[in-house]
Symmetry: C2
Amino acid sequence: MTPRIALDAMSGDHGVSVIIPAAINVLKEIEDVHLLLVGDEAVLEKAIGQQPPSILQRLSIVHASQVVAMDEIPSSTLRNKKDSSMRVAINLVKEGRADACVSAGNTGALMAMARYVLKTLPGIDRPAIIAALPTTQGYPVHVLDLGANVDSTPEHLFEFAVMGSVLTSAVGNLTNPRVGLLNIGQEEIKGNEKVKEAARLLSESNIINYIGFVEGDDIFKGTVDVVVCDGFVGNVSLKTTEGVAKMISHYVKQSFNKNLFTRLVGLIALPVLRKLREKIDPRRYNGASLLGLRGIVVKSHGSADVFSFGCAIKEAVVEVRKNVPAQISSQLAELLSERRHVG
Amino acid sequence: MTPRIALDAMSGDHGVSVIIPAAINVLKEIEDVHLLLVGDEAVLEKAIGQQPPSILQRLSIVHASQVVAMDEIPSSTLRNKKDSSMRVAINLVKEGRADACVSAGNTGALMAMARYVLKTLPGIDRPAIIAALPTTQGYPVHVLDLGANVDSTPEHLFEFAVMGSVLTSAVGNLTNPRVGLLNIGQEEIKGNEKVKEAARLLSESNIINYIGFVEGDDIFKGTVDVVVCDGFVGNVSLKTTEGVAKMISHYVKQSFNKNLFTRLVGLIALPVLRKLREKIDPRRYNGASLLGLRGIVVKSHGSADVFSFGCAIKEAVVEVRKNVPAQISSQLAELLSERRHVG
């Protein structure tokens, strides 16, 4: 079955000017995919322009008259943006006309709409946001929750561990991903009551490969595959990562721009630095997934460029092929029977 | 008055082998300082070796028979390590024989002992840990709490803002440091109830220069001088910063080590990269302060080298000269009268 991905084509910092070229690139790169562009029909027609039939036959337009603004309050978008490109893209998943949707829009609104329209999977109380980050080992690490929840209970953290474990094994082809709980020390006595209780729940499960507490610097060491934390903590950690990387990049540019000599050195070092940048390029890691819903929703960074938005579309394609929501459901059912067995 | 700094000379990953050379370097660099080395007398005598009288006359040894291990449980060190180098160094501050102490030992034990021996300042419920981080603007940003507290109330966050504001203006010679609350969005509706209530408390004060919510990536932009957060969040953010910096450094080394060509390029780029490293060298930022106590306690990174431990000693010297605890007390008194005025 060809994955059908609905794209919220109007949202994000750059809208159609980034999303349409990204969509066309993905169609050129992957033969077995169909994209549904959601937004103002006239605008989309114009942005698509002249394309070969091999592209056009795998590209549909679905009209939506509104756009959700980046700073709009989620609850108000639920009431007032029922014909927005974001909402219609989610509706297509609900109606079974698309297998997943991708949006670069307002995260809060996307989560609110997806939750309202698609509903959560049975056994999931709180959906979570998960994304991949680079490690020194070359393979990525997945971190959740990145901001959907601000006061997670130990049970929520346990749910995140289940969902994160399923997604990571599906998209990374890992059989038994190592799951760590983010804490402020590795000793059992450290941390707050929530993480201690979540650690107890995770230790008791035979299904989750729980390896214990990890700290902020462990995220990037490649010693853990899934890092579980409350959304407040995860969001701060993600944004901190972005901030540090930008600061270092700023100083690298400044250092090589200082005078004629350093500019020459910079020119010589350019190919090496470019290769380096590729390895930890945040654009490669674009495409956070909203997990725990009855459908696949991928959130692109608002400022994504063409390459980067393409990565988010491909993330959605992989999740469709692996049928992540069904896998989460079956893992949850297994856990439930594990608990019954224990109880 | 010459600042007298007690050094816990036995703790940290490297003990005397780093701490004694660091102490001697500081005495050479700063004429107006007296250091009290606390630890096993015979070990310290040997480590000091031959030194000119100009050094020896500003160096005393205070014997302590025990050492706190890096993984010891804080509460047990309170009972069982009463003659440890850490405890005796803190006692010297309490007894008025030293104006500050510095330790590279177990953070939890240091906080527990310092709190037990020195007590908190009037009006301070929870001491906090603060440290400086680099920004793209060249000047540092101070972040607190970095792990002393795991479930801070809005009132605690308010206390942290007061203490952070005082320390930052004292050591950074700033008149009105910009204080931001770490959150997962800048809009007022974002975040958990704790930060929302803390924001309300801070907005009402005329003494704190509160600029609103900041996000993880704002820490490094130079747009805020003091970042206030719960200790769990702050610790994760600090460790994340370390982890990202190490990962990037790992990939930089790997890129330049790939083959003969890249190694040559690396050699040419070396002076530029070294200058760059200096700017964001974490060793320069070594020396976290335990704030809110009736005395000055500085925590060095456990793995600090000679240069880095020297920075922590100098942090203590500056805090003594600026009399940070007295300044916090007077700022708190002013706030109290401000509240009475309002009420």
